[in-house]
Amino acid sequence: MSGLTNEGGGMNGDGGMGDGASGSARGGARVEASGAVVKGAARPVGSARPVTTPASRMAALARAELTLLGRSKSTLLAAVLVPLVLPLSLASVVEDMEVQDVGLTTGLVLLPAAIGFSLLFGVYSALAAIYTARREELVLKRLRTGELRDAEILTGAALPVLATGLAQSLVLVTGSTILLDIPAPEAPHLAVLGLLTGLAMCAALAAVTAAVTRTVESAQVTTMPMVLVSMIGSGVTVPLELLPDRLASFCELLPLSPVIVLIRGGWTGDLSAYECLRAIAIALAWTVLAVFAVRRWFRWEPRR
């Protein structure tokens, strides 16, 4: 990117080589607010012209999206409140589940479940709706006319929601450590790894879902399959250990399963190296698949 600065300045030649007055690009004229052309007014050139970087562009976009998130009551409610409240209502159900038989405690079921909800509602569903809304408002098309690259647009727009998801998880960990009497994690790095891959995967899957979603309203429908399948099959509400073996080994392949496995394993510390690698491989495979699908099928403009 650093080459751009000089390139911008390199076009000045036509403005008048050897013409001492030509201190700025294109002969130094500039249109001022009055509409008058002011000759010789400073136009930033060459190294004086600040060049954007991927990070600075994504930050600008993320800032706008954060403002929008703060103004969208329904998204806030679904993304922030639901994941924090839902696990509480599950507590009594889990207590009846005889989880102790498979070596788990109520807390060790509830915490990964709560983080799973946060990923599903706070990140995945919310982001699928945001991507769809921005596409339908032609915001994505507008952004693509500028310097932002496609990946920067999708990442920048996702940052506020990802930060919310991360913050929620920290609140949930703190809360359940205090309220549910959970011991300190045995292998915290696995929990962190699980959470981070979960965030990345949910963002990528949200973009895939947005590709098949026509309106913001229909996003509530198109996100249902992933939410339901994950709640039932990925150990979010029911630990996979309680499922029949055959079903359990299939369910382990679902997108959110490795995330829950890694997070829970972070606390219990009883994952073997094989189980660890297997979970990471499954999570990576889904993320790569989703990214490929986005590159191939994502729609940047509404259907006409």
Binding site: A29, A36, L61, A64, L68, L138, V139, K141, L143, E147
Partner: protein, 317 residues
Amino acid sequence: MDTNEHVIEVTDLRRVYGGGFEAVRGISFHVDRGEIFALLGTNGAGKTSTVELLEGLARPDGGRIRVLGHDPHADRAAVRPRTGVMLQEGGFPSELTVAETARMWAGCVSGARPVGEVLSLVGLAARAGVRVKQLSGGERRRLDLALALLGDPEVLFLDEPTTGLDAEGRRDTWDLVRALRDSGTTVLLTTHYLEEAENLADRLAILHEGRIASAGTPAEVTAAQPSRITFRLPEGYFVGDLPPLAELGVSEHEVDGPLVRLRTHELQRAATGLLVWAERAGVDLHGLDVRSASLEEAFLGIAREASRRTADAEVEA
């Protein structure tokens, strides 16, 4: 040096949509530095399809584009910091304010001018705190223009910049675009307002069904078209009473009751001949209307001719 002369160069450009619809069917043109070039055409003529390719939003299905010497799609990193784009329709989150929208865009543009400065340039400074959803259609167009100007672009793409503006807003935009041109900015705009192309464009191309039907300066494009004289013959007079039309330089005539319509490429000669005859004969030519060819007539003539050609082709087939 090539890039300095032809800032935009388009060769045999084609665009085919998914359904097989050929929106752009092999067009070529170039735009020089510091020039305002207008793509004129009816809805569906292929203007937006063409501009989107120039902006680098999609890859052409055939032909070649060079903007500032680069392929705008493949070489976007080299082109984008130097171009400004105004799309046909907004594309702003409705819940952001004008200032927030501009600030976001400024963060994505190399060498962005101060947000307040650009908003006053388009007359939106007083509306900075207003949400985009509360803006009028014209104000949204002006916000779009402000964003296109944020990076002080060398090349400006304006897709129907004044659609939805009132007469005053349109004139303000024209003044602004002219001032930009005078400061060296190259402007490519699309419009379906003939008046806009005639007033603003240094050169233009009339698009019809994905092809360039006519191109040149507004004067060149209109010069190819005949001028028109219309009048009413008084009672008792017939076309045969006029001097021989061929001698007046009239190339075509139509008679509709007393109404006579003449077309000529030699307006002065035809008009003089007609008026001298009327003076000598002591005749009043009621409803006399003498007008040189306008872009409007050129435009309508091209559309008429093109559809006639299509009809002929269909008859032959």
